[in-house]
Symmetry: C2
Amino acid sequence: VSGQTLSPEEIGIGMRISIHPHADDFERIILRAIKETNRALNLDDPGMGLEISTGEVSTYVGVKSGDAAQQLAAYAATLIHAASMEADGQHLTSHILLSRGCPGEAACELAPGDIPADKPVFLARSGLDVTAAWSLYPMADNGAPHMEPIMAAIEEAKDAGLTVTSEHYATIVRGDLSNVLAVLVDAWAKVGQYVPHVVSHLSLSLNSPSAKRAGDAT
Amino acid sequence: VSGQTLSPEEIGIGMRISIHPHADDFERIILRAIKETNRALNLDDPGMGLEISTGEVSTYVGVKSGDAAQQLAAYAATLIHAASMEADGQHLTSHILLSRGCPGEAACELAPGDIPADKPVFLARSGLDVTAAWSLYPMADNGAPHMEPIMAAIEEAKDAGLTVTSEHYATIVRGDLSNVLAVLVDAWAKVGQYVPHVVSHLSLSLNSPSAKRAGDAT
Protein backbone atom coordinates (compact mmCIF):
# COMPACT_ATOMS: atom_id res chain seq x y z
CA VAL A 1 0.00 0.00 0.00
CA SER A 2 1.05 3.59 -0.58
CA GLY A 3 0.00 5.18 2.67
CA GLN A 4 -0.18 8.70 1.27
CA THR A 5 -3.35 7.92 -0.68
CA LEU A 6 -5.22 6.21 2.16
CA SER A 7 -8.48 7.73 3.43
CA PRO A 8 -9.07 8.31 7.16
CA GLU A 9 -11.41 5.30 7.03
CA GLU A 10 -8.64 3.10 5.59
CA ILE A 11 -6.19 4.33 8.23
CA GLY A 12 -8.84 3.73 10.90
CA ILE A 13 -9.16 7.24 12.39
CA GLY A 14 -11.94 8.01 14.83
CA MET A 15 -13.00 8.38 18.43
CA ARG A 16 -15.38 7.22 21.13
CA ILE A 17 -17.02 10.01 23.15
CA SER A 18 -19.36 10.07 26.12
CA ILE A 19 -20.86 13.01 28.00
CA HIS A 20 -21.97 12.79 31.62
CA PRO A 21 -24.23 15.54 32.93
CA HIS A 22 -24.38 15.27 36.72
CA ALA A 23 -28.09 16.02 36.65
CA ASP A 24 -31.37 14.18 37.06
CA ASP A 25 -32.45 15.18 33.54
CA PHE A 26 -29.24 13.88 31.95
CA GLU A 27 -31.12 12.08 29.16
CA ARG A 28 -32.78 15.27 27.95
CA ILE A 29 -29.45 17.12 28.08
CA ILE A 30 -27.60 14.43 26.10
CA LEU A 31 -30.33 13.97 23.48
CA ARG A 32 -30.70 17.71 22.88
CA ALA A 33 -26.92 18.14 22.68
CA ILE A 34 -26.66 15.38 20.06
CA LYS A 35 -29.51 16.93 18.07
CA GLU A 36 -27.91 20.37 18.22
CA THR A 37 -24.53 18.93 17.14
CA ASN A 38 -26.10 17.14 14.17
CA ARG A 39 -27.80 20.39 13.16
CA ALA A 40 -24.78 22.66 13.67
CA LEU A 41 -22.39 20.36 11.78
CA ASN A 42 -24.98 19.31 9.16
CA LEU A 43 -24.37 15.65 10.01
CA ASP A 44 -27.69 14.37 8.68
CA ASP A 45 -26.35 15.11 5.19
CA PRO A 46 -25.14 11.70 3.95
CA GLY A 47 -22.27 13.44 2.15
CA MET A 48 -20.61 14.39 5.43
CA GLY A 49 -17.42 12.54 6.30
CA LEU A 50 -18.44 11.00 9.63
CA GLU A 51 -19.94 7.66 10.60
CA ILE A 52 -21.66 7.86 13.99
CA SER A 53 -23.17 5.08 16.08
CA THR A 54 -24.18 5.22 19.72
CA GLY A 55 -23.52 2.29 22.05
CA GLU A 56 -24.38 1.72 25.70
CA VAL A 57 -21.14 3.20 27.07
CA SER A 58 -20.17 5.77 24.43
CA THR A 59 -20.68 6.99 20.87
CA TYR A 60 -18.38 5.97 18.02
CA VAL A 61 -17.43 8.71 15.57
CA GLY A 62 -15.46 7.35 12.63
CA VAL A 63 -13.98 9.56 9.92
CA LYS A 64 -14.66 8.32 6.39
CA SER A 65 -13.12 11.21 4.44
CA GLY A 66 -11.86 14.76 4.79
CA ASP A 67 -9.75 16.34 7.53
CA ALA A 68 -9.89 13.80 10.34
CA ALA A 69 -8.51 15.76 13.30
CA GLN A 70 -10.58 18.85 12.46
CA GLN A 71 -13.83 16.88 12.15
CA LEU A 72 -13.31 14.95 15.39
CA ALA A 73 -12.33 18.06 17.37
CA ALA A 74 -15.30 20.00 15.97
CA TYR A 75 -17.70 17.18 16.86
CA ALA A 76 -16.39 16.96 20.43
CA ALA A 77 -16.32 20.74 20.95
CA THR A 78 -19.84 21.20 19.58
CA LEU A 79 -21.32 18.31 21.57
CA ILE A 80 -19.71 19.35 24.88
CA HIS A 81 -20.61 23.02 24.34
CA ALA A 82 -24.23 22.15 23.53
CA ALA A 83 -24.48 19.83 26.56
CA SER A 84 -23.01 22.49 28.81
CA MET A 85 -25.58 25.03 27.57
CA GLU A 86 -28.41 22.55 28.20
CA ALA A 87 -26.98 21.67 31.63
CA ASP A 88 -27.01 25.39 32.48
CA GLY A 89 -24.01 25.49 34.81
CA GLN A 90 -24.41 22.01 36.31
CA HIS A 91 -21.31 19.82 36.55
CA LEU A 92 -20.55 17.92 33.35
CA THR A 93 -17.78 15.51 32.37
CA SER A 94 -16.84 13.98 29.04
CA HIS A 95 -14.58 11.10 28.16
CA ILE A 96 -12.93 10.90 24.75
CA LEU A 97 -10.86 8.07 23.25
CA LEU A 98 -9.05 9.11 20.06
CA SER A 99 -7.60 6.29 17.98
CA ARG A 100 -5.69 5.83 14.74
CA GLY A 101 -4.58 2.57 13.20
CA CYS A 102 -4.61 -0.99 14.46
CA PRO A 103 -6.05 -3.48 14.87
CA GLY A 104 -7.35 -4.54 11.52
CA GLU A 105 -6.86 -1.26 9.72
CA ALA A 106 -4.28 -0.60 7.02
CA ALA A 107 -2.17 1.68 9.20
CA CYS A 108 -0.86 -1.34 11.13
CA GLU A 109 1.34 -2.12 8.13
CA LEU A 110 2.48 1.43 7.49
CA ALA A 111 5.94 2.82 8.13
CA PRO A 112 6.68 6.38 9.27
CA GLY A 113 6.66 8.60 6.18
CA ASP A 114 3.92 6.49 4.61
CA ILE A 115 1.17 8.09 6.66
CA PRO A 116 -0.51 11.27 5.38
CA ALA A 117 -0.22 14.31 7.71
CA ASP A 118 -3.37 15.79 9.22
CA LYS A 119 -4.14 19.53 8.99
CA PRO A 120 -4.00 21.46 12.29
CA VAL A 121 -7.34 21.89 14.04
CA PHE A 122 -9.01 25.29 14.16
CA LEU A 123 -11.90 25.89 16.58
CA ALA A 124 -13.47 29.22 17.53
CA ARG A 125 -13.10 30.11 21.20
CA SER A 126 -15.90 28.55 23.28
CA GLY A 127 -15.89 30.74 26.38
CA LEU A 128 -16.00 27.59 28.54
CA ASP A 129 -13.21 26.74 30.97
CA VAL A 130 -12.33 23.06 31.16
CA THR A 131 -9.90 20.87 33.04
CA ALA A 132 -8.71 17.78 31.18
CA ALA A 133 -6.78 14.70 32.32
CA TRP A 134 -4.77 13.75 29.23
CA SER A 135 -3.07 10.47 28.32
CA LEU A 136 -1.26 9.75 25.04
CA TYR A 137 -0.24 6.22 24.04
CA PRO A 138 2.05 5.70 21.03
CA MET A 139 1.88 1.93 20.36
CA ALA A 140 5.09 1.52 18.35
CA ASP A 141 6.14 -2.02 17.45
CA ASN A 142 9.56 -1.02 16.12
CA GLY A 143 11.34 -0.61 19.46
CA ALA A 144 11.23 3.21 19.41
CA PRO A 145 11.16 4.65 22.97
CA HIS A 146 7.48 5.41 23.63
CA MET A 147 8.03 8.20 26.18
CA GLU A 148 9.77 10.55 23.71
CA PRO A 149 6.72 11.60 21.66
CA ILE A 150 4.73 11.94 24.90
CA MET A 151 7.25 14.36 26.41
CA ALA A 152 7.43 16.34 23.14
CA ALA A 153 3.61 16.63 23.06
CA ILE A 154 3.54 17.94 26.64
CA GLU A 155 6.07 20.66 25.73
CA GLU A 156 3.94 21.67 22.75
CA ALA A 157 0.83 21.92 24.93
CA LYS A 158 2.72 24.32 27.21
CA ASP A 159 3.88 26.37 24.22
CA ALA A 160 0.26 26.63 23.05
CA GLY A 161 -0.65 28.67 26.13
CA LEU A 162 -2.43 25.94 28.11
CA THR A 163 -1.89 25.48 31.83
CA VAL A 164 -0.14 22.10 32.06
CA THR A 165 0.65 20.18 35.25
CA SER A 166 1.67 16.59 35.92
CA GLU A 167 -0.23 14.16 38.11
CA HIS A 168 0.27 10.44 38.54
CA TYR A 169 -0.51 8.71 35.20
CA ALA A 170 -1.99 11.78 33.51
CA THR A 171 -1.18 15.33 32.47
CA ILE A 172 -3.67 17.93 33.64
CA VAL A 173 -4.46 20.64 31.08
CA ARG A 174 -6.59 23.71 31.74
CA GLY A 175 -7.93 26.30 29.30
CA ASP A 176 -10.75 27.18 26.95
CA LEU A 177 -12.62 24.06 25.74
CA SER A 178 -11.75 24.82 22.10
CA ASN A 179 -8.09 25.47 22.78
CA VAL A 180 -7.72 22.33 24.92
CA LEU A 181 -9.39 20.14 22.29
CA ALA A 182 -7.44 21.68 19.40
CA VAL A 183 -4.07 21.22 21.11
CA LEU A 184 -4.71 17.69 22.37
CA VAL A 185 -6.26 16.41 19.13
CA ASP A 186 -3.36 17.94 17.18
CA ALA A 187 -0.84 16.28 19.53
CA TRP A 188 -2.43 12.89 18.89
CA ALA A 189 -2.62 13.42 15.12
CA LYS A 190 1.01 14.52 14.99
CA VAL A 191 2.29 11.38 16.74
CA GLY A 192 0.19 9.46 14.21
CA GLN A 193 2.49 10.61 11.42
CA TYR A 194 5.31 8.57 12.95
CA VAL A 195 3.56 5.81 14.90
CA PRO A 196 0.84 3.97 12.97
CA HIS A 197 -1.21 3.04 16.09
CA VAL A 198 -1.67 5.87 18.57
CA VAL A 199 -4.42 6.33 21.13
CA SER A 200 -5.25 9.25 23.41
CA HIS A 201 -7.70 9.42 26.32
CA LEU A 202 -9.12 12.76 27.51
CA SER A 203 -11.28 13.15 30.62
CA LEU A 204 -12.81 16.64 30.58
CA SER A 205 -14.50 18.33 33.50
CA LEU A 206 -16.67 21.48 33.38
CA ASN A 207 -18.21 23.35 36.30
CA SER A 208 -16.93 20.94 38.93
CA PRO A 209 -17.71 21.90 42.53
CA SER A 210 -14.00 21.81 43.42
CA ALA A 211 -13.15 24.18 40.55
CA LYS A 212 -16.00 26.50 41.62
CA ARG A 213 -14.75 26.49 45.21
CA ALA A 214 -11.19 27.20 44.05
CA GLY A 215 -12.57 30.09 42.00
CA ASP A 216 -14.43 31.48 45.01
CA ALA A 217 -11.25 31.51 47.02
CA THR A 218 -9.28 33.70 44.64
CA VAL B 1 17.99 -3.33 40.60
CA SER B 2 16.64 -6.79 41.31
CA GLY B 3 13.04 -6.33 40.31
CA GLN B 4 11.74 -9.23 42.39
CA THR B 5 12.24 -7.29 45.64
CA LEU B 6 10.61 -4.05 44.47
CA SER B 7 7.51 -2.79 46.27
CA PRO B 8 4.39 -1.74 44.31
CA GLU B 9 5.37 1.86 45.09
CA GLU B 10 8.81 1.36 43.56
CA ILE B 11 7.29 -0.27 40.48
CA GLY B 12 4.77 2.57 40.28
CA ILE B 13 1.47 0.65 40.53
CA GLY B 14 -1.79 2.51 40.98
CA MET B 15 -4.90 3.94 39.37
CA ARG B 16 -6.96 7.05 38.83
CA ILE B 17 -10.71 6.60 39.38
CA SER B 18 -13.73 8.86 38.98
CA ILE B 19 -17.41 8.20 39.58
CA HIS B 20 -20.16 10.10 37.82
CA PRO B 21 -23.67 9.85 39.27
CA HIS B 22 -26.11 11.26 36.72
CA ALA B 23 -28.07 12.97 39.50
CA ASP B 24 -28.55 16.46 40.90
CA ASP B 25 -27.22 15.33 44.30
CA PHE B 26 -24.02 13.85 42.83
CA GLU B 27 -21.82 15.49 45.46
CA ARG B 28 -23.65 13.81 48.34
CA ILE B 29 -23.51 10.45 46.53
CA ILE B 30 -19.76 10.71 45.84
CA LEU B 31 -18.81 11.95 49.32
CA ARG B 32 -20.86 9.25 51.06
CA ALA B 33 -19.44 6.56 48.78
CA ILE B 34 -15.87 7.65 49.56
CA LYS B 35 -16.63 7.68 53.29
CA GLU B 36 -18.20 4.21 53.11
CA THR B 37 -15.20 2.89 51.13
CA ASN B 38 -12.73 4.28 53.69
CA ARG B 39 -14.76 2.63 56.46
CA ALA B 40 -15.24 -0.73 54.74
CA LEU B 41 -11.58 -1.06 53.73
CA ASN B 42 -10.23 0.52 56.94
CA LEU B 43 -8.31 3.10 54.89
CA ASP B 44 -8.00 5.66 57.67
CA ASP B 45 -5.55 3.26 59.33
CA PRO B 46 -2.11 4.68 58.34
CA GLY B 47 -0.77 1.13 58.14
CA MET B 48 -2.89 0.37 55.08
CA GLY B 49 -1.04 0.03 51.79
CA LEU B 50 -2.76 2.77 49.76
CA GLU B 51 -1.99 6.44 49.14
CA ILE B 52 -5.11 8.33 48.09
CA SER B 53 -5.44 11.92 46.87
CA THR B 54 -8.40 13.51 45.13
CA GLY B 55 -7.93 15.94 42.26
CA GLU B 56 -10.38 17.94 40.19
CA VAL B 57 -10.89 15.27 37.52
CA SER B 58 -10.27 12.02 39.39
CA THR B 59 -8.83 10.39 42.49
CA TYR B 60 -5.34 8.89 42.57
CA VAL B 61 -4.96 5.58 44.40
CA GLY B 62 -1.33 4.48 44.65
CA VAL B 63 -0.25 1.17 46.13
CA LYS B 64 2.61 1.47 48.61
CA SER B 65 2.79 -2.15 49.75
CA GLY B 66 0.89 -5.44 49.71
CA ASP B 67 -1.06 -7.09 46.89
CA ALA B 68 -1.46 -4.31 44.35
CA ALA B 69 -4.09 -5.74 41.98
CA GLN B 70 -6.27 -6.97 44.86
CA GLN B 71 -6.21 -3.63 46.68
CA LEU B 72 -6.98 -1.58 43.57
CA ALA B 73 -9.82 -3.88 42.48
CA ALA B 74 -11.28 -3.90 46.01
CA TYR B 75 -11.15 -0.09 46.21
CA ALA B 76 -12.89 0.31 42.83
CA ALA B 77 -15.52 -2.35 43.56
CA THR B 78 -16.32 -0.94 47.00
CA LEU B 79 -16.50 2.68 45.78
CA ILE B 80 -18.70 1.90 42.78
CA HIS B 81 -20.97 -0.39 44.82
CA ALA B 82 -21.38 2.23 47.55
CA ALA B 83 -22.10 4.97 45.01
CA SER B 84 -24.65 2.78 43.27
CA MET B 85 -26.42 2.12 46.58
CA GLU B 86 -26.48 5.87 47.34
CA ALA B 87 -27.67 6.65 43.81
CA ASP B 88 -30.55 4.20 44.33
CA GLY B 89 -30.96 2.98 40.78
CA GLN B 90 -29.99 6.20 39.00
CA HIS B 91 -27.55 5.99 36.10
CA LEU B 92 -23.90 5.96 37.20
CA THR B 93 -20.63 5.74 35.29
CA SER B 94 -17.05 5.31 36.45
CA HIS B 95 -13.76 5.78 34.66
CA ILE B 96 -10.66 3.91 35.80
CA LEU B 97 -7.07 4.27 34.56
CA LEU B 98 -4.81 1.47 35.82
CA SER B 99 -1.08 2.03 35.41
CA ARG B 100 2.18 0.25 36.18
CA GLY B 101 5.68 1.50 35.50
CA CYS B 102 6.99 4.49 33.59
CA PRO B 103 7.67 7.32 33.58
CA GLY B 104 10.08 7.87 36.40
CA GLU B 105 9.44 4.68 38.30
CA ALA B 106 11.89 1.80 38.61
CA ALA B 107 9.90 -0.50 36.36
CA CYS B 108 10.99 1.49 33.28
CA GLU B 109 14.38 -0.20 33.59
CA LEU B 110 13.10 -3.70 34.28
CA ALA B 111 13.23 -6.63 31.91
CA PRO B 112 10.58 -9.38 31.67
CA GLY B 113 11.30 -11.90 34.41
CA ASP B 114 12.55 -9.14 36.73
CA ILE B 115 9.05 -8.01 37.67
CA PRO B 116 7.28 -9.68 40.61
CA ALA B 117 3.98 -11.40 39.73
CA ASP B 118 0.74 -10.11 41.26
CA LYS B 119 -1.71 -12.45 43.04
CA PRO B 120 -5.06 -12.96 41.26
CA VAL B 121 -7.88 -10.73 42.48
CA PHE B 122 -10.74 -12.16 44.53
CA LEU B 123 -13.93 -10.12 45.02
CA ALA B 124 -17.26 -11.32 46.43
CA ARG B 125 -20.13 -11.10 43.95
CA SER B 126 -21.73 -7.65 44.00
CA GLY B 127 -25.17 -8.34 42.54
CA LEU B 128 -24.73 -5.33 40.23
CA ASP B 129 -24.70 -5.71 36.44
CA VAL B 130 -22.22 -3.49 34.63
CA THR B 131 -21.15 -2.82 31.08
CA ALA B 132 -17.51 -1.84 30.61
CA ALA B 133 -15.60 -0.43 27.65
CA TRP B 134 -12.12 -1.87 28.09
CA SER B 135 -8.78 -0.78 26.59
CA LEU B 136 -5.39 -2.32 27.37
CA TYR B 137 -2.14 -0.65 26.31
CA PRO B 138 1.16 -2.56 26.66
CA MET B 139 3.85 0.10 26.12
CA ALA B 140 6.78 -2.15 25.20
CA ASP B 141 9.97 -0.47 24.07
CA ASN B 142 11.66 -3.70 22.95
CA GLY B 143 9.89 -4.09 19.61
CA ALA B 144 7.52 -6.85 20.83
CA PRO B 145 4.21 -6.83 18.88
CA HIS B 146 1.80 -4.92 21.14
CA MET B 147 -1.40 -6.56 19.87
CA GLU B 148 -0.48 -10.07 21.07
CA PRO B 149 -0.99 -9.55 24.83
CA ILE B 150 -4.20 -7.64 24.07
CA MET B 151 -5.66 -10.52 22.06
CA ALA B 152 -4.60 -13.03 24.73
CA ALA B 153 -6.29 -10.95 27.45
CA ILE B 154 -9.54 -10.79 25.45
CA GLU B 155 -9.56 -14.59 25.15
CA GLU B 156 -9.04 -14.92 28.91
CA ALA B 157 -11.94 -12.56 29.62
CA LYS B 158 -14.18 -14.78 27.49
CA ASP B 159 -12.95 -17.88 29.32
CA ALA B 160 -13.80 -16.19 32.66
CA GLY B 161 -17.50 -16.21 31.79
CA LEU B 162 -17.90 -12.56 30.85
CA THR B 163 -19.89 -11.45 27.83
CA VAL B 164 -17.27 -9.99 25.50
CA THR B 165 -17.91 -8.13 22.25
CA SER B 166 -15.75 -5.91 20.05
CA GLU B 167 -16.50 -2.34 19.13
CA HIS B 168 -14.30 0.22 17.41
CA TYR B 169 -11.30 0.98 19.68
CA ALA B 170 -12.65 -0.86 22.76
CA THR B 171 -13.79 -4.26 23.93
CA ILE B 172 -17.21 -4.31 25.60
CA VAL B 173 -17.46 -6.57 28.65
CA ARG B 174 -20.67 -7.33 30.55
CA GLY B 175 -21.16 -9.11 33.86
CA ASP B 176 -21.26 -8.72 37.61
CA LEU B 177 -19.30 -5.65 38.78
CA SER B 178 -16.93 -7.79 40.88
CA ASN B 179 -16.29 -10.32 38.14
CA VAL B 180 -15.67 -7.62 35.52
CA LEU B 181 -13.22 -5.75 37.78
CA ALA B 182 -11.41 -8.93 38.87
CA VAL B 183 -10.91 -10.17 35.31
CA LEU B 184 -9.86 -6.81 33.84
CA VAL B 185 -7.52 -5.87 36.70
CA ASP B 186 -5.96 -9.35 36.52
CA ALA B 187 -5.49 -8.99 32.74
CA TRP B 188 -3.62 -5.71 33.24
CA ALA B 189 -1.48 -7.10 36.09
CA LYS B 190 -0.60 -10.18 34.04
CA VAL B 191 0.67 -8.15 31.07
CA GLY B 192 2.70 -6.18 33.64
CA GLN B 193 4.81 -9.26 34.32
CA TYR B 194 6.19 -9.05 30.78
CA VAL B 195 5.86 -5.38 29.81
CA PRO B 196 7.19 -2.90 32.41
CA HIS B 197 4.81 -0.06 31.41
CA VAL B 198 1.20 -1.14 30.87
CA VAL B 199 -1.94 0.96 31.16
CA SER B 200 -5.61 0.00 31.03
CA HIS B 201 -8.69 2.23 30.76
CA LEU B 202 -12.11 1.02 31.90
CA SER B 203 -15.35 2.97 31.38
CA LEU B 204 -18.07 1.33 33.47
CA SER B 205 -21.79 2.01 33.13
CA LEU B 206 -24.53 0.98 35.62
CA ASN B 207 -28.27 1.42 35.22
CA SER B 208 -28.04 3.16 31.87
CA PRO B 209 -31.38 4.00 30.24
CA SER B 210 -30.41 2.08 27.10
CA ALA B 211 -29.58 -1.03 29.16
CA LYS B 212 -32.89 -0.68 31.02
CA ARG B 213 -34.79 -0.38 27.74
CA ALA B 214 -32.97 -3.41 26.32
CA GLY B 215 -33.94 -5.30 29.49
CA ASP B 216 -37.56 -4.26 29.10
CA ALA B 217 -37.63 -5.61 25.59
CA THR B 218 -36.58 -9.15 26.49
